[in-house]
């Protein structure tokens, strides 16, 4: 049963930020509500006031902006999935959206809500980390931007202050010679929390890796990057043995737990297998053949 609360429907971002500033932390924003209503029913969160930010125009829209892609914090997964710009410039995010929940949830769930929830299994997180995305947080005091990698802290803990809203995410347009891939291993093909998810973005020139990003979900208390593997790859010729080595390094970088879905050991092994596969797929897209 949903506990009682007041619902505020602000007309503008400013109004929403005011309500948050006045009442936080007793006030929580609600976007799609696909996490928050579940958490309120279970008693995990008991906000006195809920601010509906779903319709705020300032949180909407996907556009090019100064050589970057800018996505509003209130953009839904369904919107990301069907957006041409996302498909063209960030296919790794599109792939994650395609494996996200089910069509009904995708219509409501927002990218901001996904990240703020702070789940290690948040499905947009690995791709956005691999894209080196920046997150924009806005409060009455102004805006700040930080790399998404600095946003995640622990399970259900992020760098967001209670008076802040996620207003946008930004990442750079891909350079020529970029390849990427995402895979979510769940216990079933839809509507399953990931057991392990892996996103890879590679930039290469004539088969030599210039930059690598490897990010994983559900294998640590927060979505994580395998920085040791990324460093290892940089400057290397993209080939099978290198991928295997990078995959092995990735398995060392993760710290999974055992739960009802899978054992830590399985998650660790899958981190390596899937990383290797994603590297192979991404490398193929960089346009270079071994």
């Amino acid at each position: 049963m949903l506990p009682e609360f007041d619902l505020v429907m602000p007309r503008s971002l400013n109004e929403a930020l005011q309500v948050l500033a006045a009442g936080s932390p007793e006030v929580l924003p609600i976007a799609g509500g696909t996490n928050l209503t579940v958490d309120m029913r279970s008693g995990r969160y008991e906000p006195k006031v809920v601010v509906d930010i779903e319709k705020l125009p300032e949180l909407k829209g996907i556009r090019r902006e100064n050589g970057q892609i800018c996505v509003g914090g209130g953009v839904t997964i369904a919107e990301l999935l069907k957006d041409g710009l996302v498909a063209e410039t960030a296919p790794v995010l599109k792939s994650a959206c395609a494996l996200f929940a089910n069509p009904l949830i995708r219509n409501r769930a927002t990218v901001g809500g996904n990240l703020v929830d702070g789940s290690p299994a948040a499905d947009t997180a690995p791709s956005l980390l691999a894209l080196d995305a920046e997150i924009e947080l806005t409060s009455q005091d102004g805006k700040r931007r930080l790399p998404l990698d600095e946003f995640f802290i622990h399970v259900r803990k992020t760098a967001r202050q209670p008076n802040e809203l996620v207003t946008a995410l930004r990442w750079a347009l891909p350079k020529p010679g970029t390849g990427s891939a995402f895979y979510k291993l769940g216990l079933r093909k839809a509507d399953a929390i990931s057991v392990v998810s892996v996103a890879v973005v590679l930039e290469a020139e004539k088969g030599v890796c210039r930059k690598a990003r490897i990010a994983l979900g559900s294998v640590a208390p927060r979505p994580v990057r395998a920085k040791n593997a990324e460093e290892f790859l940089t400057g290397k010729l993209l080939k099978k043995e290198v991928f295997e080595e990078a995959a092995a390094l990735t398995a060392q970088a993760v710290s999974p737990i055992s739960d009802v879905r899978a054992s830590a050991e399985y998650r660790r092994r899958m981190s390596a297998v899937l990383t290797r596969r994603m590297l192979e797929q991404a490398a193929e897209q960089t346009g270079w053949k071994e």
Binding site: A190, I193, A262, Y266, M270
Partner: protein, 742 residues
């Protein structure tokens, strides 16, 4: 005018598609009160004290009932070993104990659901915890820690089969295959969680509108616990959102009736409503039994199985439910549809502090079939013989003796069913017998570095109707109205429509038997106030039993119609041939009066690096005798295959020390439309049953039975590894493959 054999549209289709059909939770009556149940939420304890004072004082609370309010505090389909409410002041010894987390301790009735829930949480219960037993082997041995101290043992059922001389036969066998199998728990996961409304009807009857599988048995159990004559209790089923055996035992029936009745005794004449959450449903109703099965089979090099020794241990959980009957079935099915001259089976059902286990589609058949078919496929491998050929050398034929020393009823078609299925799947009959040429099936060869494909085969038989001497009957009443010609034919029948389509089939069979246009047949169903006892919708029995009852009633009604009686009423009770229980020493018995026969071939693909399985194609051949409504038959085949596919590769019910870790459908995963087999091909075969109505056999369960062993055999074909345990989750598969490499 022929209605049997036609795929007419289900009579409930339109209302269900439009959302107009009313399920138990949809009923609301003026002035209704709400009920919440306080569950034990601990696996084993004595309830020392229940203090309801604070809860009662909450404004809006109408009443709280505990064990002392239950006149006869016991129930159970087979044996009354479960308290209606656990706690002190019971009318029965040891009813002050809770034995699993879903045991019910108190009922709260209040103005609304919120208050009822609040009051429930204010009830103070003092427990004295008892040791928790969850391992069947430990439970079998324990003499100190007894779940039911009045019974002297945790083993509450044991069957023996002794046919021939297995020891002598093993010494003559050319190959012997031993296997140790473990089958998992499965949750029914029906769409509609338990719900209902209770009221006192215009004739003063305690009435409940609920979902169940047998109106008259529900009524009997309620009347027993409330110590009322059965006529004073009325049970009505509206639309039911799935059952699969999960509604055979009581969930809310007795407590809802109890609350309604006790309230009215206090002068509060208000309807009482309850809806379980998914979590309450998952901890509150029984599951499919997990089994440990130890099998040792021997065969000659000519491919004749000559000996089978099997030991089965079923975890019954906290109470008996239908365990003894489920075990009876598994005991018969564990040697497969084969004529084996020497058989020794010992089977046990054991109490533990896990959630009780009971009826679930297949009713012990799937567990027995898993062991039997794994043994057959392993024997085929060891003998270097084709698995279809090996089966055909051993299947039961007309007159063959079962393990229990008697022949099957006439109409044995397993050989034809196996041949039909094998042919469709690509097997060929050659001069060397049946063969499958892998080279001619390029789809199986696809081998990306990490993908392997395989094909597997299995077959089974499934009884139709109650077994082993259980009283079996079904009633139908037909009333013909009109003057010169029949204007309306009203069929009164209690059979439960749980989604399988039986009400449509009842009408089809009535129209056929009466020779009237189907539009003239009206069904008044599932109300103890209007129909005689039909028995349950279980054991694949309703089409078979009701069809025979309807034919009898139609014949009588037509006779009376011809004799100018208006209305002309025919009432008929069908009783099938008698069955007999297991002989306690040898198991000799006539277990069943009818069977259906089934075979399946499965093609799958496995990712050997992640352990993920994809089911590519399932061919399911079923002898249904006569498909009364072929489309509904196909629906049952596809539904059963999909449900069994979940059981095979996905569904994983996790219990730890009596606690349930998968308390919702986000952790207990059932297949989505993307997870089901890419293709399911239904081969409907019609070899008539000599005593089935219009030749029909029952078929709701049998497509479920061979799927898991067929999947396991396909996985072996793909990887060379036998998996003796399931569900075949990616992790189990991967570690199984890795282990076999080491």
């Amino acid at each position: 005018m022929s209605y049997v054999g036609k795929s007419i549209t289900r009579i409930d289709a339109e209302a269900k598609v439009k959302g107009e059909a009313l399920y138990p939770g949809d009923f609301n009556l003026p002035n209704q009160a709400y009920m919440k149940i306080l569950f034990a939420n601990r696996p084993h304890a004595i309830v020392k004290r229940i203090d309801t004072a604070r809860a009662k004082a909450l404004p809006g609370v109408l009443a709280i009932f505990t064990a002392k309010d239950v006149p006869v505090n016991e129930y159970g389909l087979i044996m009354p070993d479960q308290p209606v409410l656990c706690g002190p002041g019971s009318s029965k010894p040891y009813a002050d104990r809770v034995r699993f987390i879903g045991d019910q301790v108190a009922l709260v009735i209040a103005e609304n659901e919120e208050i009822a829930a609040q009051a429930r949480d204010l009830i103070e219960v003092e427990y004295e915890d008892l040791p928790v037993l969850t391992d069947v082997h430990q439970a079998m041995e324990s003499t100190e820690n007894l779940l039911h101290p009045d019974r002297g043992s945790n083993v509450f059922c044991h069957y023996r089969i002794r046919k021939g001389d297995t020891e002598a036969a093993f010494s003559q066998a050319d190959v012997i295959v031993e296997g140790e199998y473990h089958t998992p728990v499965q949750e029914h996961a029906y769409l509609q969680p338990e719900a209902g409304i209770g009221y006192i009807d215009e004739e003063g009857r305690v009435t409940i509108v609920v979902a169940g599988q047998w109106t008259h048995e529900d009524r009997k159990q309620i009347a027993h616990a409330l110590n009322l004559p059965e006529e004073q209790v009325r049970v009505i089923y509206p639309a039911i959102g799935g059952a699969f055996g999960g509604r055979e035992d009581m969930s809310i029936q007795i407590v809802l009736a109890l609350a309604t009745w006790r309230l009215s005794q206090q002068g509060i004449n208000r309807p009482v409503k309850i809806i379980w959450s998914r979590e309450e449903s998952i901890i509150g109703h029984h599951k499919r039994h997990p089994y440990h099965i130890y099998a040792r089979w021997g065969a000659t090099k000519e491919g004749k199985v000559i000996a089978a020794e099997v030991k089965l241990i079923a975890d019954g959980g906290a109470y008996a439910y239908t365990s003894t009957k489920v075990l009876g079935n598994a005991t018969l099915m564990c040697t497969g549809p084969y004529e084996i001259p020497n058989v020794k089976v010992d089977s046990y059902a054991v109490y533990t502090n896990s959630i009780p286990n009971g009826a679930f589609r297949g009713f012990g058949g799937p567990q027995g079939a898993f062991a039997a078919e794994m043994q057959m496929n392993k024997l085929a491998e060891r003998l270097g013989m084709d698995p279809v050929e090996l089966r055909l050398r051993n299947v039961l034929r007309e007159g063959s003796l079962l393990s229990v020393g008697t022949p099957l009823p006439k109409g044995v078609s397993i050989a034809q069913v196996v041949e039909n299925c094998a042919k469709r799947a690509g097997w060929k009959q050659t001069s060397n017998g049946w063969e499958f040429d892998r080279e001619k099936h390029p789809s199986l060869k696809l081998q990306k570095s990490n993908l392997r494909r395989g094909i597997g085969f299995a077959c089974s038989f499934k009884n139709v109707g109650f077994s082993f001497g259980a009283p079996e009957q079904c009633q139908a009443t037909i009333e013909l109205r009109g003057k010169g010609e029949i204007e309306e034919a009203v069929l009164y029948h209690a059979g439960a429509e749980v989604g399988q389509g039986v009400h449509t089939v009842l009408i089809q069979m009535a129209a056929e038997a009466l020779g009237v246009p189907i539009e003239k047949v009206r069904l008044i169903a599932s109300d103890t106030a209007t129909s005689g006892d039909s028995g349950s919708v279980s054991a694949s029995r309703m089409t078979f039993m009701a069809g025979n009852a309807i034919r009898g009633a139609a014949k009588l009604a037509l006779e009376r119609w011809r004799n100018e009686e208006r209305p002309a009423v025919g009432h008929y009770q069908y009783r099938p041939p008698r069955t007999t229980p297991y002989d306690p020493e040898t198991g000799k018995s006539e277990p069943n009066f009818a069977y259906g026969y089934v075979a399946e071939a499965v093609e799958l693909e496995v990712d050997i690096e992640t352990g993920q399985i994809r089911l590519l194609n399932v061919i399911c051949a079923d002898d249904v005798g006569q498909a009364v409504n072929p489309q509904l038959v196909q629906g049952q085949i596809e539904g059963a295959v999909v449900q069994a596919a979940g059981y095979a590769i996905l569904e994983n019910f996790v219990q730890q020390n009596g606690e349930v870790l998968t308390r919702g459908l986000s952790t207990y995963l059932i297949p989505t439309v993307l997870d089901i087999p890419d293709r399911v091909e239904s081969l409907i075969l019609e070899y008539p049953d000599p005593i089935g109505p219009f030749g029909a056999r029952g078929m709701g369960e049998m497509p479920y039975l061979p799927l898991v062993p067929a999947v396991a055999s396909a996985l072996h074909d793909a990887t060379g590894v036998w998996f003796n345990e399931f569900p075949l989750t990616p992790e189990r598969v991967l570690f199984g493959l890795t282990k076999s490499e080491e």
